[in-house]
């Protein structure tokens, strides 16, 4: 089976060669190393020899368990209640620390709990921080992918017109993409500042001082939202340009035909523009998803994962462990899990957006 790869295309290989070799050296090889390290106890620096530890890095990260506790009862058998009527439960610490009856729970922590009737079920995780990082990353992807993609399309439609000075707007919208994300993150840290930040001042001025000052990045309930908003703003221009290129490949004759048929603006968009953007939409969606999963710089500069783990993300944890805490095996394990995760999501997206025959 002489495929296209082996047949008389030495010129092609010579042209692709340098790039392919560099990619193999700096992307494929380190990734293979990461897979290998994730089964060892490799440290960044250590005089101790590296040992094979099997799947223990994975079980350490992903280990989960359930524990159902009955409320505490007094001698008469009645449930002990707090002043507000809620039942009290024995401290989890008694089960998860040095309790010989529950060896499988040793070192686990509460991730969240569900109360059914009077008994409460705790979902325990061996690595709660990583679980929170996974959830935060998924929330980030689920919000950023549609909102950033949609906003970019709106901007692309707006600037895809023949108006005087339209290039000015194109440049404005594209500007944040050109600026380093680290610089943008630093600037937004000032904007979000709890006391004298631009956002607080703006909201205060608009509401004549009635809006309370919020420490956007220092409050667990607003920190992730603040980073999502800033991230959408930063990269929207990039996807706007991709949409724009898609828009400009749609033949003007289609629009003329639609106009002759008397199509409304919405009908034109629905039946001419949108079908013409199909492939662009798939590209934008997949690119945004992959970029969103790699969320790191904003976190590193703006919050370092805090407050209370509300902005932990998968990649931030991988770097924090691998380099910050010198645990290369732990960081590698996270990278491998992320790879499997992103691969699965991308394949799913490919399947959902496939050409239906």
């Amino acid at each position: 089976m002489a495929s296209k790869f082996t047949r008389s295309n030495s010129t092609g290989w010579m042209m692709a060669g340098p790039a392919a070799a560099l990619m193999a050296l700096f992307i494929v090889l380190p990734f293979l190393f990461a897979i290998g390290f994730s089964f060892t106890n490799q440290r960044l620096i250590s005089p101790n020899p590296t040992q094979f530890v099997g799947l223990s890095n994975y079980s350490q990260l992903l280990g989960m368990s359930l524990l159902t506790l009955e409320p505490e009862k007094d001698d008469a058998g009645n449930v002990v209640r707090e002043a507000d009527g809620s039942a009290t439960y024995p401290a989890l610490r008694g089960y998860t620390r040095n309790n010989a009856d529950y060896p499988h729970l040793d070192g686990m922590r509460e991730w969240f709990s569900v109360t059914l009737g009077d008994s409460r079920t705790y979902v325990l995780a061996r690595d709660v921080v990583f679980m929170k990082a996974v959830v935060n990353t998924i929330i980030f992807v689920l919000i950023v992918a549609p909102v950033q993609g949609g906003l970019a399309l709106v901007l692309a439609l707006l600037i895809n017109q023949r108006l005087r000075g339209i290039n000015f707007f194109r440049a404005i919208y594209f500007m944040p993409v050109v600026v380093s994300i680290v610089v943008v993150s630093l600037l937004w840290r000032f904007i979000y500042d709890g006391q004298s930040g631009l956002l607080n001042n703006l909201l205060g001025a608009l509401t004549f001082g009635t809006f309370p000052r919020i420490d956007w990045l220092g409050n667990p309930s607003t920190a992730l939202g603040a980073i999502i908003a800033m991230s959408i703003w930063q990269a929207v221009g990039f996807h706007m340009v991709i949409w724009l290129s898609g828009l400009q490949t749609i033949s003007p004759s289609l629009y003329e035909a639609a106009a002759i048929e008397g199509a409304s603006k919405w009908q034109t968009f629905r039946y001419v523009t949108w079908p013409g953007l199909r492939n662009t939409a798939v590209l934008v969606l997949i690119v945004i998803t992959m970029q969103a999963f790699a969320l790191f710089s904003q976190i590193d500069v703006m919050t370092s994962g805090g407050p209370l783990d509300s902005t932990q993300t998968i990649v931030f944890q991988a770097v924090e462990r691998g380099y910050g805490k010198q645990d290369i095996s732990g960081g590698s394990t996270i990278s491998v899990i992320l790879f499997v995760f992103v691969l699965a999501v991308s394949l799913l997206q490919r399947w959902l957006t496939r050409e239906k025959k």
Binding site: L44, I45, S46, P47, N48, Q60, G306, K325
Partner: protein, 418 residues
Amino acid sequence: MKSLSLLAASLVCASAMSSAAFAQTTLTMWYHGAGNEDESNIINQIISDFNASQSDWVVEIESFPQAAYNDSVVAGALAGNLPDILDVDGPVMPNWAWSGYMQPLQIDETKIANYLPGTKGVWNGELYSIGLWDAAISLVTRQSYLDELGLRVPTLEQPWTGEEFMDALAKAKASGKFDYALDLGTAWTGEWYPYAFSPFLQSFGGDIVDRATYTTAEGVLNGDAAVEFGNWWQGLFTEGYAQATQDPADRDNGFNSGKYAFSWNGNWAALGTLDAYDDVLFLPAPDFGNGPKIGAASWQFGVSASSEHPEGASAFIEFALQDKYLAEFSNGIGLIPATASAAAMTENYKEGGPLAVFFELSEAQALVRPVTPGYVVAAKVFEKALADIANGADVQDTLDSAVDEIDADIAKNDNYGF
């Protein structure tokens, strides 16, 4: 003038090199102080003095910005590419020594007999690094504030107790004159947390790891004393005495512009405060039951394990251990000189000098951070635990999980050789 002296220095260098070009061996050196002109001038002066003083060795320096320095050394070590002489932050030294980057110094012990204890980097019973200076922290306030709030002035002999300290914060808050009673410096993330705040924990009777064995944190970081410390720490924020997240600008000049009644800050910031007010007091740390404590150990010099000329590297370090250089560093960038005799030669730390109190604080209260290779990881875990508790996390749970993480790291490293 400056360029003239630079020219003179390089001429001296050049002539020294040409006169003994055959016998001389080059020693390379890395230093963390790039970007600070005063600091660079002093270290360059020491090097040119050393090069001129003998004909065996020539030291060549390469400076790195502090933020990138540790990473550079780690990367250099991984690549087998370290210089002969390097400088190292005190608490990090055991990690580098254990990892095999550094070798013990070959210097005359009598030369450092009178050095402040925090300046000596001892690991496994051997001296690996030595500092020309130390750093210290004090509770900064003004005499007029204490008078107004009706508080006694604590002394080294009789520092405030924990209750007196909390009473002072309560009074400062009740006065309504300040945005916050206490400026802890929470804006400074990183090593500041363990350096500045673990002494509070130690004063309560806890610690980051158990210094008896160095193989676990169980019982010291999550025992009763540590929980008491955690509750007190959380109380500082829930009571509104301090901010869990602080604007960096407020850290830099909040106290100097009257926003805080007290500031927990280092000697390096003291000169600015002295400029702002004429009645500044640098008070000792409060005593929470196990004696008042502050952190110790700053940047120190050591010799890399891969150096082919450790005797030359040690000779340079020994040469640098002169009171006049200690005094120059102190005058130039405000550091605490390592000896009393050098302190007497400085503007700020001589007897009666405006910062002399820091020298006494260092002598009386300083406790080095845990001397273990695992400190690098434990410090990060400790920082996160304190930030979480400040933001309202459950104290016992947070300390328990910090203990688990530190213990897991120690176990992963075969107890770091203990």
